[in-house]
Symmetry: C2
Subunit: 191 residues, 2 copies
DNA sequence: TGATTTTCTTACCATAGGGTAATTTTTATC
DNA sequence: GATAAAAATTACCCTATGGTAAGAAAATCA
């Protein structure tokens, strides 16, 4: 829990009341590999902050193939923000991929926090700005890089994830099949 | 200018002083097709709100091939947010693709507006939330849809852009070549 | 440790989309 | 309206990645 408090304090001044409020609306949870936190098709009530471990969000297409939108590690937020924003059932599944420690919030509580404690607006805005920038980069990389280039970049950006998640999850994040990733890895090792 | 004011008023209560301030930091401009507003490699000082017309932002890869990150039409914001956020030279070029009317801001002024008039925090947060959701969708579509599917979706989502922008811009947004798009269009017409 | 399951690799062929270049069509300009 | 420029199409062949399937390796579990 301190991880989140510190993260907030890096951005805004946190009053004791606000801090108290955060405690009151959050729940620290330990979850294990394989647990599903949000399931495609169901209502999305929660948003998660990762203290330790790794989660991912993915959707499935008409052929049941999985496509990973996000890996979330220490210090990241994860949920189905599309569903929350549009107030629709989840199109994503959020899954725990290594035993993890998370903080759970009701999405509704997190939204209301801004009217209760307006100082959170700035915190949230900065989170969102950073998020937008990383999504812009992701889109540009997808457009301009080859699959091997994207894989190398992934290894730089998520050095820890690679150890814990199967290759087919990484492939589904990069937009290729696990077989292609396998070939890329062979090619890379050969050099 | 009223377009922007109304947009703001849809989200927050706008005090006369705040309104006055917006006028003081903005400049309405008419720009013509082909004008470059932000140039790759140069410092990014401005952010633009589109009143009418169409702009796009793109980057070029090592082979000088263009990749469109965004089309901005009436009511959208456009700039190189990656560069602004990281305080780096532009990696994007922002170009006017049909004669347009825009409102120009200094990115710095737009950032400072939040400390001067905290009521803007909520407005900006909501903008960013919407933006994040649309980027999530874009990434998922890129991962799970075929090129023809993405093109059809594009036509639904940007019915006006199609009329005004050359196909190779659309292709570069979809992540395919103009030749592929041409084939897709032929195939589509054949049905 | 042995059995089972999961993950990864490899091989084969199929296909979507790319690259170059020529041609046609459309749009802009004088 | 004639000319030039820009954009779109088409044709050809090529390459990267996909799909299926089988086998190898690694991880898990009893």
């Amino acid at each position: 829990m301190e991880e989140l408090i510190n993260k907030i304090k890096n951005n805004i001044t946190l009053s004791p009341q606000a801090k108290e409020h955060i405690y009151s609306i959050s729940k620290e949870r330990t979850i294990s590999k394989g647990e599903i936190l949000i399931r495609q098709g169901q209502a999305v009530k929660k948003t998660f902050f990762v203290i330790d471990g790794c989660l991912r969000s993915y959707c499935t297409d008409k052929n049941d193939k999985e496509h990973t939108l996000q890996f979330a590690i220490k210090g990241w937020w994860i949920s189905d923000f599309i569903a929350i924003y549009n107030n629709e059932p989840a199109i994503l599944t959020v899954e725990c991929i290594t035993d993890s420690k998370i903080i759970e919030f009701n999405a509704k509580d997190l939204d209301e926090i801004h009217s209760l404690f307006p100082e959170f607006e700035a915190f949230q805005r900065k989170n969102l700005e950073r998020h937008v920038v990383s999504l812009h980069k992701r889109i540009l990389n997808q457009l301009k890089l080859t699959a091997p280039e994207r894989y190398n970049l992934f290894l730089e950006q998520y050095p820890d994830i690679e150890k814990h998640t199967p290759n087919y999850h990484i492939a589904s994040f990069l937009g290729i099949t696990q077989q292609s990733l396998s070939r890329i890895r062979v090619e890379k090792a050969r050099k």
